[in-house]
């Protein structure tokens, strides 16, 4: 993934959410699929809904929110997470 690739939530379709305690179920009005998001995935989703972001900026934000030590492993984990949301058609590259 190029470092300047910007990600955004898929444009043109609404996402419905249902929060159960600390888990989030999300309905994609485009694909018609329903997904269970972990708290980390939910955080990424909410963040990208507000503004598109690069992987770098996103990771920096998450480090602050979850108060984690920044390391390459976490960066790789977030990259994997983004790809999983991409496969669900929830996020896309900015045009």
């Amino acid at each position: 993934m190029k470092s300047d690739t910007r990600w955004q939530v898929l444009q043109g379709f609404e996402f419905l959410t249902h929060g159960f305690e600390d888990e989030l179920v999300i309905y994609h009005t485009g694909s018609g699929h329903t997904h269970l998001l972990s708290s980390l995935q939910s955080e990424v989703f909410s963040y990208l809904q507000k503004q598109p972001s690069t992987l770098q900026d996103l990771t920096s934000y998450l480090i602050t929110v979850f108060d984690i030590n920044a390391d390459s492993e976490f960066y790789a984990e977030i990259e994997k997470l983004l790809l999983s949301l991409y496969r669900f058609d929830i996020v896309e590259h900015c045009q």
């Binding site: 419905l16 249902h18 159960f20 305690e21 888990e23 989030l24 179920v25 309905y27 009005t29 018609g32 329903t34 269970l36």
Partner: protein, 305 residues
């Protein structure tokens, strides 16, 4: 008039002429067949069902032998829905299970004014339990056991939900038992009326338990869902009830539903409300007596609140 009121000759005649129509929960089936197994099976398993006569049927189905060589060489049976075959033929000996599967298919594919989940449903004291489960989880066995101990049968397979009312609708039909479950239920409930066993089907050996008369007679009474309990048969664990997260239960129901994907945003809302309104559990078991006790306890606790 009930099926049991018909003589064998009348039953035969009606089926052969396509004038055999029965109510099954909210639905009506008009069945046409010359096949002996089907005629006998219907007379036996559907003895307590009411005959209908008024010219409208939700589903016109037929079980028949294919034309040509498959009439004699490795004979087969075809299921027809209004004259068309939705699936491949099966060996002739499996005509009755094919009818049962075909009837499920009819409902699951054409009744989208309901939300249809893949789950068993039983009811006691006006409160219903939804038991979702993959094949092999043991929901039909548990369902049959509960029904033999006074719980009302709604269905062993199709949980039909009225989307506006949020209630469950009975689709009372014979309970389909597989492999070891057949002998387990025969032992657990010697009074249970089991039909013939059919070997070598794609699901193994299959037999059907006739639904209790009361369940059939009350098929017009809906109930509100109170618990969602996902059963899982386990050789090692006799009885263990654990709370399940609502989100996980939501996904379980959604992934195993017949037509959740058709209802779109509305289905999402309805399912969300369902898991919030019900107590959600997983239930691991291998002891049917303990299972009955566990379920009875839930009803008791609920009555006290």
């Amino acid at each position: 008039m009930k099926i049991s009121d018909l003589s064998k000759a009348e039953l035969c005649s009606r089926l052969k002429k396509g004038k055999f129509c029965i109510s099954v929960g909210p639905f009506s089936f008009c069945i046409d067949s010359h096949i002996e197994e089907v005629i006998e099976g219907l007379g036996d398993l559907y003895a307590d069902y009411e005959l209908r006569d008024h010219g409208f049927a939700d589903f016109h189905i037929s079980l028949t032998r294919p034309k040509g060589i498959r009439r004699w060489l490795h004979p087969q049976v075809l299921f027809l829905f209004d004259g068309k075959t939705p699936f491949k033929p099966l060996p002739f000996s499996q005509a009755l299970p094919m009818m049962e599967w075909g009837m499920n298919w009819c409902i699951a594919n054409h009744m989208h004014h309901y939300l249809i989940l893949h789950a068993a449903v039983v009811e006691k004291n006006g409160q219903a339990v939804i038991m979702p489960g993959n094949p092999g989880a043991g929901k039909s066995t548990l369902c049959a056991a509960l029904v033999s101990r006074g719980w009302r049968l709604f269905s062993d397979e199709l949980a039909l939900m009225d989307i506006d009312e949020g209630t469950l609708i009975p689709v009372t039909r014979p309970v389909s038992l597989k492999n070891e479950s057949i002998s387990v239920i025969q032992t657990f409930s010697p009074n249970a009326h089991l039909g013939k066993s059919y070997a070598d089907t794609t699901k193994g050996t299959v037999a059907h338990m006739r639904p209790p008369k009361l369940s059939v007679e009350h098929a017009g009474h809906s109930a509100k869902p109170r618990w969602i309990i996902a059963p899982q048969y386990n050789k090692e664990i006799s009885s263990k009830l654990d709370t399940e997260s609502m989100a996980k239960m939501f996904m379980n129901l959604a992934e195993n539903a017949f037509n959740y994907h058709i209802h779109g945003p509305r289905g999402f809302d309805v399912l969300g409300k369902l898991v919030e309104d019900c107590d959600c559990y997983t239930y691991t078991y291998n002891d049917l007596d303990k299972a009955i006790d566990e379920f009875e306890q839930l009803v008791q606790i609920s009555s006290h609140h």
